[in-house]
């Protein structure tokens, strides 16, 4: 019987099956950031352990860092101590760090792929649930807690229970102005926020193959929002040409690359591979998606009304009532009638150069509505430099946007970028949980085009029939 992409990688990294039914799994790459690592390093020091393979770890700071010009001086003393702790831990244990001001600093899930650290066939972990992003390359990549961060640092392994596999097939082609963000939101709306629990998703089908690497990353990024441990896409020529780009300092080159390519071509799921479950979605019928509630599964097509309590798939009456009370919305409302206060274009979901190009195409020659605050935050310093080389920064600033330095920014509001209570945001990020972008802030997840158009109109729009009305 054939094997799935997931099984091939799992088997290759299986050190030992343990008596209790779990597996000791080898980890090829460990990404580290400032928020979930300090307690792990503290644990190592207390126990007198060492870091087994410091060269397989790489670190950056992204969550806490301010994204303004003066980002080097972090005002909040607690945030600053966390950033300083990462510096010290990396220096003490010999781990490569992309510090603030480094050319490769940025959101950990943006810089991994960009530098060539993320490659097909690898096992990749990070103390961060959106590690699923890296699965876009045909790697097995998943988020872990701080105890597991410590475990990987000390042993370069993890003890894992084998997940099941779900094949998610997108047939047909996307319509104009529909993106992988809409595909993955649509899927989460169908399976619910726990639908992928205990599973690894493999995305495939015509619409997936047609996606660029960056669009694939957006899709895999949000796998965790469907409850899955990981999302994966089989590596193909799109993947290989992305990796072979000369800009990626850590990717294999020359002969090493040729050898790797020969191996990577064997990774895609065999034709007769069996998945534990599968779902099929008609890509041609996907409309622009927008969330109306307080988790990413509370999502509708932009031209549908907000559901009545008791009529939302996967949610009980009280779930919907709680969510709408928090969001300050009524059932039956059309999202295109709802005004926005803040537009955030950024996060590890949608802050790469293609995302910024899409937003810039909408904003070019236009201005944001007066009452809207518009924030554009590139995912990495490389993305920032590239955008500036293409003149996108000028378009954003002419439209009235704030053009920022790389970081997580308003995705989780752990830094100075936050929503005020009751402010409503169109956000290209991945989570609309209560308080996620600031206490009592109201988040609606959308694609970069939808976000940019909302900034111009001052309210949500259906990007397919978008006309400027302001």
């Amino acid at each position: 019987m054939g094997k799935t992409l997931f099984e091939k990688i799992w088997n290759k990294h299986r050190i030992k099956d343990l008596p209790d039914g779990s597996t000791l799994l080898y980890i090829d790459r460990h990404l580290v950031h400032e928020v979930t690592s300090p307690q792990a390093f503290e644990g190592i020091r207390l126990a007198g352990y060492t870091v087994r393979s410091p060269h397989l770890a790489v670190a950056t700071m992204d969550h806490n860092v301010p994204t303004t010009e003066d980002r080097f001086s972090i005002e909040d003393p607690v945030s600053r101590s966390q950033v300083e702790a990462l510096r010290k831990n990396c220096a003490d244990f010999g781990i490569k760090l992309f510090d603030i001001g480094d050319d490769h600093q940025g959101i950990v899930h943006v810089i991994g792929p960009e530098t060539g650290i993320t490659l097909p066939g690898l096992t990749i972990v990070c103390g961060d649930s959106h590690t699923s992003t890296h699965g876009a390359f045909g790697a097995l990549a998943f988020g872990i807690g701080t105890s597991e961060v410590e475990h990987v640092l000390v042993t370069q392994t993890l003890v894992q229970r084998k997940p099941s596999t779900i094949k998610v097939e997108f047939n047909g082609r996307l319509g104009p102005h529909i993106f992988s963000k809409d595909m993955v939101l649509k899927m989460i709306g169908i399976i619910g926020t726990a639908g992928g629990s205990g599973s690894v998703l493999e995305y495939c089908g015509e619409a997936v193959s047609a996606l660029s690497m960056e669009a694939r990353m957006t899709m895999c990024n949000m796998s965790i929002e469907g409850g899955a441990r990981a999302g994966m896409i089989a590596p193909d020529d799109t993947t290989f040409s992305y990796i072979s780009s000369r800009k990626r300092p850590y990717a294999p080159k020359g002969e090493a690359l040729d050898r790797a390519l020969a191996y990577w071509r064997t990774l895609p799921s065999d034709a007769d591979a069996v998945f534990d479950r599968s779902i099929t979605i008609d890509a041609a019928r996907i409309a622009p998606q927008i969330t109306w509630g307080t988790n990413p599964g509370m999502v509708i097509d932009i031209d549908q009304p907000i559901p009545e309590p008791g009529f939302a798939e996967n949610y009980s009456r009280s779930d919907v009532e709680n969510a709408l009370a928090y969001m300050g919305l009524k059932p039956g409302t059309k999202m295109t009638d709802v005004p926005v206060d803040v537009v955030f274009i950024g996060s590890c979901t949608n802050s790469r150069i293609e995302d910024l190009r899409q937003a810039a195409a909408i904003l070019k020659g236009r201005k944001k509505a007066e009452h809207v605050q518009l924030l554009v935050v590139p995912g990495s310093h490389q993305v920032r430099l590239q955008a500036e080389a293409e003149g996108l920064d000028k378009i954003f600033m002419a439209a009235g946007a704030q053009w920022r330095y790389a970081g997580c920014s308003m995705c989780l509001a752990m830094n100075p970028d936050q929503l005020q209570p009751q402010q409503r945001a169109a956000s290209t990020s991945n989570r609309n949980f209560e308080g996620r972008q600031g206490k009592d802030g109201r988040t609606h997840l959308v694609s970069p085009e939808m976000a940019a158009a909302a900034a111009v109109n001052g309210k949500f729009v259906d990007i397919r029939q978008w006309k400027e009305t302001s």
Partner: protein, 211 residues
């Protein structure tokens, strides 16, 4: 880690599904580099009003739940961010057991707890118990009718006993690996280091960029 065998305590209920880890411990408390001090900030945004006083509308602030150590919630508890701080906050706020229902979706049932949360809980000696929706509804009913309701959770027997007359018994499943880890209070890094030779042998032969 302290071994967990049995625990008796007061049961509190939180009638919400999809309680995410952002809700359990909001990001402003993730700036700490310590492992302790999170307890008073568990459920912060629900628990306190804007002026910092206990929010009287938040279920868990009720006087009858003051000394609770067992929490019963709805499905998909602990979803979202991988932050282990959520587990630290719950444990440091006095919770030793969390109970939630799996969700029956016809051919498939969805688990009560999000994957990463479940793993993080085990590493911190927090027992998470999945029951059926009906059983959890029953417990909600008992808690409503019996102020200060106590329960005993026996991990060896895999039983929850509600201390009512007559006592109500619920059996539960637990992964053997997690049961053993909790019962013995094992340190999992020390456990894995027993396989040092296997790891070293694997590393010698492992080529991450080749077959």
């Amino acid at each position: 880690m302290k071994p967990f065998t049995t625990h008796t305590g007061i049961v509190a209920t939180l009638n919400r599904a999809n309680v995410d880890t952002d809700a359990i411990i909001p990001k402003q408390f993730l700036k700490s580099i310590k492992r302790t001090g999170y307890g008073p900030n568990a459920f912060f945004d629900w628990r306190y009003t804007l002026d910092g006083n206990p929010n009287p509308d938040f279920e868990l602030n009720q006087q009858r739940f003051k000394d609770r150590s067992i929490l019963v919630a709805r499905n998909n508890f602990g979803c979202g961010s991988s932050r282990e701080h959520a587990v630290w906050a719950l444990v440091q706020d006095g919770y030793q057991v969390i109970i939630a229902p799996g969700k029956d979706m016809g051919e498939k049932s969805l688990p009560a707890f999000a994957d990463i949360f479940r793993i993080n809980a085990a590493k911190n000696g927090l027992l998470v118990v999945e029951l059926s929706e009906d059983q959890v509804d029953e417990i909600f009913g008992f808690v409503e009718r019996h102020s200060g309701l106590k329960a005993t959770i026996d991990l060896v027997q895999q039983q929850i006993v509600l201390q009512v007359d007559p006592p109500q018994v619920f059996e539960f499943e637990v992964e053997p690996a997690i049961k053993e880890q909790l019962l013995k209070g094992l340190d999992d890094i020390a456990q894995t280091l027993r396989y040092e030779t296997d790891i070293a042998r694997f590393e010698e032969n492992h080529d991450p960029l080749g077959p």
